[in-house]
Subunit: 328 residues, 2 copies
């Protein structure tokens, strides 16, 4: 089968169609576009999300922690702790294991999150490191947020901008693709410092919003597709309103990347009927945010390009990073 | 590095020594011999454990669900739901993905546990299926149990017997090792029906016990080492008191296996000062249990063999299954 996440159709047919037990104490169940489960604990809820990261040692721990905690934050939860499953190839060294663990610990500590435990194993069944992080968070029962609560006419607010994570991966792991741009450690740190949406997620939930989705595979258009389909609605996204970091722009031009379809952990897409007010609130916290579109009653999803043309957003948006890496 | 779990020394040095943030709302932190974390949610606690299973398609889903839910039960928690991360090689077929998911769903449903979500991905970085399950459970705050609460003089009660999971794996995946024993589907079902300790774990927590540990890698001696070291005590295990299924006995003789060091998911080791009473209670639920040893103030750990000889139990007990598979 083809490398990558399962398509929504296959996920539905092979995986989700077999999910049958639904407990009363589970408030949000597994489903397309819902990355977290929510369990009732009285006045509070427990929010859980799992994500694996496969790849090189450099930065894998940091990324794995952010991606899982971001999912919890997209439900309006404060991440409490993480469980870490590390599956390592026989070629790994003790120093590399330590590097990954220090990375994980430093990132978690920066978010006020505890490493709760997990499992570390050397196995011949992986050819590169696999880190699977499960994040556990808490939120008042009255204020947790899902992907499915969007309302027609809602503003779609995006924090930070497009392609943050994808640009970092390109700059860090494939500098040869853009030799004319000098990638300094400061540039890498700028992107690394923007991978978390925990602050905006927790704050937006308190502010009161209809739906949230963090921007991962498939970029902003992928997040818009997941959020709108979970809400049973459509949307319009205005490309000209989406902020692009300079380096992201440079990659977009050089590699003919659509930055709206590029991995952007660190950006949160939020549906709210008080977009202007939310943008101001977030600015007060030092988080740049922009109204980049709106939810529509009509279930078609459209992106309006800078040149005024318009195209439909598919349900499954393939990430530009996978295309670039496949063409390498 | 050598294939397998990290040794306790390496785990301490490379992984646990970097764990620094300890939150007030986390009641049980990561540590040697503690397989679960416990988070405070008011009157209740949320109990979390993660375990990966790497191996063949047949039965991998069932095993993964039991192993994670058993850890939660060893803390006295009722498992509520599981998160499933499936990493699959490119050679996998749609039918095999369905087989794994049906296995997972059926096993979870049998335990009253919901499949909460997760992540399914085809990746070139695994050569065989990897299933990592995180189980989430709940328990009243007053009654959760850890590995570290054992008291000197406590009875050590074992449910079911030795080598349940290891025997099933040998019979299912390597029938050629014991051709003279006809392994019928009924025999396999007998073992498969005994892989869960959820019932005894939840019941023992209500009964009120000092410490529990489910019997996984390293078998009964491994579980005894983890439980006693977490409690800062020693123990004496009496081999003659440990029940052995007939097929386990046959393998032990044929392959010179020590069944006390063989994987035995499905068996729970329980420290309590009311062993006789607990054995009777469990018998009333249809769960056979036996007092197989006791906790000692003296921190040495000893097993008294059938012939009266005695040997020390190391902190890290290598599982007999890995030895047999390595010799194949």
């Amino acid at each position: 089968m083809r490398v990558g996440k399962l398509s929504p159709e296959l996920l539905q047919e092979l995986v989700l169609s077999h999910i049958s037990v639904e407990r009363d104490d589970v408030l949000v169940h597994a489903g397309l576009g819902e990355d977290c489960a929510v369990i009732d604990f009285g006045d509070e809820v427990c929010i859980i999300s799992s994500d694996p990261i496969t790849g090189a040692v450099t930065g894998i721990g940091t990324l794995a922690v952010h991606v899982a905690c971001n999912d919890v934050a997209a439900c309006g939860g404060s991440p409490v702790g993480i469980q870490v499953v590390l599956l390592l190839p026989e070629s790994i060294t003790e120093e590399q294991i330590q590097e990954i663990m220090i990375d994980i610990q430093t990132t978690a500590a920066g978010l006020g999150v505890e490493v709760l435990g997990g499992h570390t194993e050397i196995t011949s069944r992986v050819t590169e490191c696999v880190v699977a992080v499960t994040a556990i968070g808490r939120a008042p029962k009255a204020s947790f947020v899902t992907s499915s609560g969007g309302q027609p006419g809602d503003d779609l607010v995006l924090t930070k901008g497009a392609g943050i994570e994808g640009t970092l991966i390109l700059a860090q792991d494939f500098p040869e693709l853009l030799p004319e741009f000098r990638v300094t450690p400061e540039v890498l740190d700028w992107f690394k410092g923007r991978l978390s949406v925990v602050k905006e997620g927790v704050h937006a939930a308190r502010f009161g919003v209809h739906a949230m989705h963090d921007v991962t595979e498939g970029g902003i258009l992928g997040a818009a597709a997941e959020l709108t389909s979970a809400s049973g609605l459509g949307c319009e996204i205005w490309e000209e309103k989406v902020h692009l970091p300079d380096l992201t722009k440079a990659y977009a031009v050089k590699l003919a990347i659509d930055p709206l379809k590029l991995l952007s952990s660190g950006a949160m897409l939020i549906a709210t009927d008080r977009g202007v007010e939310l943008v101001e609130e977030l600015a007060g916290l030092g988080i740049p945010a922009f109204i980049i579109g709106r939810m529509t009653e009509d279930t078609t999803r459209r992106v309006v390009r800078r040149d005024g043309s318009s195209e439909e957003i598919p349900l499954f948006v393939q990430d530009e990073l996978w295309r670039i890496l496949a063409e390498k």
